[in-house]
Amino acid sequence: MTSDPPLPDGSAAPSEPEAEVVELPSATRATDIALDELELVYAFIYARVGNRADAEDLTQQVALKAFPRLREGAPPSAIRGYLFATARSVLGAFWSTRLGLSTAELHEDLALAVPQGPTSDEPVERAGRILAGLSDNYRRVLELRFLHGYSLKEVAAEMRSTVGAVKVMQLRALRAAAKVDPDA
């Protein structure tokens, strides 16, 4: 039996959900139902990788891992639960292989509740709570850069600083943001 390849940090990839079979309400509508649920998966993944191309690739992986195990007859909640279990596994492997993040580091992020709809503002609200937990300068640089789309030069002009200093402040602000618990 061959297992998943080892990761850069020597840790194992996050475990995949058990190979159970989750049944779909109707075989003829299996694809439509899966696609509707995959909208939620896509939003969930996009909120974590921040770009369309990676979100599409990962959603595709989730679909193809989970779809063969979906059959007739089970409640949509079970389908959603299974898709999100698979999504967490796929996202975990994505970050693990790209950045060497361990399963333990990902645990909190991947244990988040299943979103109720693709238009959920939770990721945006979460970002707002994180920004609120930062110092004024750090919050300002991240707001200008990410929320307003300013270039480094524009941020520097706005904050009466230099591009080099803004780059350093941006790095420190992101490091600080990673430490803020938005649920505290």
């Binding site: 998943d4 694809t31 770009n51 992986q61 850069r145 080099g164 941006q170 790095l171 943001a177």
Partner: protein, 215 residues
């Protein structure tokens, strides 16, 4: 000279804000917390996202067109020992993820250790220009007839280790694991940067038989 941390993170932030894929290099993991935070802020900037109609159509097409039995996860592909290409590809998954771009040069022919020319049928069994899946021991390939000659490409996707399928209507090789297509020469048609398929050595004999170099 090593890249300074602030420059490293700015490169990634700049790409994210342009809507680009996360392209990480070896060493970027030192700033993993900042990078994952940047990805979240980049997502928050554009708000909740839905699949584009084009992606939804591609996803639907993939789910509907590939029989369930053809879907294959990386684990399944490896366990099944589908071929030398799958093994080589799976071994490269970790390394590729840390590189700035896919390896576009990984398109050379598969040269199995102790390769064996395997008879895969009569030339008459192959339709002109149509892909036919054959197996030569551990090597699986799509063989294409070109008049009295043949050419072949690996049957394993160059990105994910899934077995391709031949779409007669489009005359393209499709991957069941993500929305990408390859020509009979193994070149990707996708808008994303993708490596070409490995070529597989194939030949015809004077007796009109087709042989593939396998294991």
């Amino acid at each position: 000279m090593p890249e300074r941390p602030e420059n490293r993170v700015e490169r990634i932030v700049s790409g994210l804000l342009r809507g680009r894929r996360l392209k990480l290099r070896a060493g970027d993991a030192e700033e993993k917390e900042a990078i994952t935070a940047a990805a979240r802020f980049a997502a928050a900037r554009v708000g909740p996202q839905r699949m584009s109609p084009a992606f939804r159509r591609r996803l639907a097409q993939t789910l509907e067109s590939a029989p369930r039995g053809q879907f294959m996860t990386r684990r399944a592909a490896l366990v099944a020992g589908i071929g030398v290409a799958a093994g080589a590809l799976a071994g490269g998954v970790v390394g590729r993820a840390l590189e700035p771009a896919p390896q576009l040069s990984r398109t050379g022919p598969i040269n199995p250790r102790k390769g064996v020319w395997t008879d895969v049928g009569s030339l008459a069994d192959f339709d002109e220009g149509q892909g036919k899946l054959v197996r030569a021991g551990g090597v699986s390939a799509f063989v294409f007839r070109r008049g009295e000659g043949v050419s072949a490409v690996s049957a394993i996707c160059s990105h994910l280790p899934c077995e391709l399928w031949w779409d007669h209507d489009q005359s393209l090789l499709g991957c069941p694991c993500h929305p990408v297509w390859f020509t009979s020469e193994g070149k990707p048609t996708s808008t994303y940067s993708m490596p070409s398929l490995n070529r597989v050595r194939a030949r015809t004999t004077t007796a009109g038989r087709v042989e593939v170099l396998g294991t």
